[in-house]
Structures are given as C-alpha cells and as structure tokens.
C-alpha cells in the first residue's frame, strides 16, 4: 500500500470519528460558530465614514480613521502649547531690553547728570515715579 492510499484510509477513519461527535461537542461548536459570525463585518456594516460612531482602534478598518480622529483632537492642544511656548520666548527676549532701560536710568541718576535741585522738585518726582510705573 502506498502513502496516498494509506492516507486515504486514515482519512476515512478520521471522518467517521468527526461525524460521530457527541451532542454536547457539536452544540458547543455551533455556539462558537454563531459567536464568530456575530463578529463578521459584512459590506453593509462598514460605512466609509461615520464620525459619530467612530471608536478609535476598534478594528482594522476603524483604526486608521481613529488615528485621524485622535490627531484632530490633539491638534488644537498642540497649537495651544506651541502658542504658550512662543509667548514665553517673546517675553524672555523682551526682558533684557527692559532691564537695560532701567539700568540706563539708574546709571544716569548715579552719574549725577540730573541737577540736584531736580530731586527736590515735586513734578520731577511725579514724572520719575510715573515712568517707573510705566516700565
């Protein structure tokens, strides 16, 4: 007997064994099949685009759309963070200029370029305080 013929006879025996499965087993197999078919994604059950029902990464087809959805949500947050960083950087750049202005005024005062009588003048004091507050 060659290998093919032997295989065929074994196959007959195995088919007989498979056909003689008990009710409990066949019932569970039926249930398993029903559960599997319940997860079948037919053509009608896969709309091209439906954001209201979109769940990110729920299935193969949905995962790509879900990624775009996540990106759409994340984009404004990223833009906000970038904006905050820009404002902070701008303030950091402005700070040395203000400091140098204050330093120049202090320098001028210290160098006594302002007449001593000016400090006794009320108006000068008001102007000086006003400028300082403005700064």
């Amino acid at each position: 007997m060659n290998e093919k013929e032997f295989g065929y006879r074994i196959r007959q025996a195995l088919n007989e064994a498979a056909a003689g499965l008990d009710y409990k087993t066949t019932y569970r197999l039926e249930q398993a099949r029903a559960a599997a078919l319940a997860r079948h994604r037919g053509p009608a059950a896969s709309p091209a685009w439906n954001p209201a029902l979109q769940t990110a990464g729920s299935a193969d087809g949905g995962s790509r759309l879900g990624w775009f959805g996540s990106f759409g949500l994340a984009a404004p947050i990223v833009a906000l963070i970038v904006g905050f960083i820009g404002i902070y950087q701008w303030q950091q750049q402005q700070l040395p200029e203000r400091m140098s202005d204050l330093a120049a005024m202090d320098f001028a005062v210290l160098m006594d370029e302002t007449p001593i009588g000016a400090y006794a003048d009320k108006g000068f004091g008001i102007v000086l305080r006003g400028e300082t507050e403005d700064l």
Binding site: G7, A13, G20, L29, A36, L37, P43
Partner: protein, 188 residues
C-alpha cells in the same frame, strides 16, 4: 470578500475536523473547543474581508497558531500549578479508552451488526490515538495533506517550511502510523 453565508458554510464544514485536530494536539476536549472558538472568532473578526477561497488556508494557520498559543499559556501556568500539583485531582486523559467500553460490551448479547459497529469504532478510536501520538509537525503535515486535502505547496505555506520538509514529515508520519497500527493488530 467572503459573505456571511459563505463564512458560515465554511465554518460549518470545517468545525468538526478543526476540533478533532485541536484535540489530537492538546488531548483535552474543552481546551480543543476553546481553541476552535478562538480560531473561528479571529477568522471572522480579522479576515472577513478576504475572499472565500482564502478561508481554508487562513483558518488552518489561525488554528495552528491558536494551538501553539494554548501550549505557551499552559507552559506559563504549569510553573505555578506544579507548586500545588499534589492537591490537584488525577488526570482524566486515559478515562476515555474505548477498549474498556468494548470489553464491557463484548459479554452482552449484542447483535452481530452491533458488534461490527463496535469493532469499527474501536479501530477508529485506535487510529485516532495513534494519530494523536505522532510528533506535532508530522501530525500537522499528515492531516493537512490527507485530511484537509491541501497540496504540498499549501501545506508548506501554512507550516512555514519547505515543500521537501512537508514530504519528509508526511512520509515519516505514514510509516510511524503504519508501524503503530500493525503493532496493535490493525491492518488497513
């Protein structure tokens, strides 16, 4: 794309063989049922967009992977279970020996046709036992070739080996089976 009806027909046609193959591998009916259910669900969930003609190969591959996953999980679990092995109940693997049933019925006044039926079921059970005893790769190759009707190339693709290896596995399985069955007094 396979329709729901095509998938249903395919699963109905293959489920018993799939269960038996899983059972030969894991030697546990409940575990085999779980494996088949896992494989069915994966096929339905992940590959329902594939054409119906691809389903047999895909399902065989998924079933094979599900069986390997079972062994991996079992290996991890056994590291814990061995600690409590003394408390566990005895194994039930050998409780389904058909020879016991046959001997019990041999003394009964059964009709001749019934006796033939029992003898045939005995032979079938012994063949199943010996198929289950084959080394894993040999059994997979043999069943795919001669039970699933796959050709050598398809079997090689599913098993992830060369066609030459498939032929070798099949040949060894055939010889081992023939030898084992002959030793148990069964001549095919």
């Amino acid at each position: 794309m396979a329709s729901r009806q095509e998938l249903s027909d395919f699963l109905a046609g293959v489920e018993r063989r799939a269960f038996k193959q899983a059972q030969y591998a894991v030697r546990d009916s409940d575990a085999a049922l779980d494996i088949v259910q896992d494989a069915m669900m994966k096929l339905s969930e992940k590959y329902s967009d594939r054409p119906a003609s691809e389903l047999p190969l895909l399902f065989t591959r998924i079933l094979q992977n599900a069986t390997y996953d079972f062994f991996r999980r079992q290996k991890v679990r056994s590291t814990w279970v061995t600690l409590f092995s003394a408390l566990s109940p005895g194994h039930e693997d050998d409780n389904s020996d058909p020879l016991e049933t046959l001997e019990a019925m041999a003394g009964s006044p059964a009709a001749e046709s019934a006796q033939d039926q029992v003898e045939r079921s005995q032979v079938v059970a012994i063949i199943e036992e010996e198929v289950a005893r084959l080394p894993t790769r040999q059994r997979e190759a043999f069943l795919m070739r001669y039970w699933e009707d796959m050709d050598v190339a398809e079997t090689a693709a599913v098993m992830g080996c060369s066609e030459g290896s498939v032929k070798t596995h099949c040949s060894r399985a055939t010889h081992a089976l023939a030898r084992a069955l002959k030793a148990r007094g069964i001549q095919l």
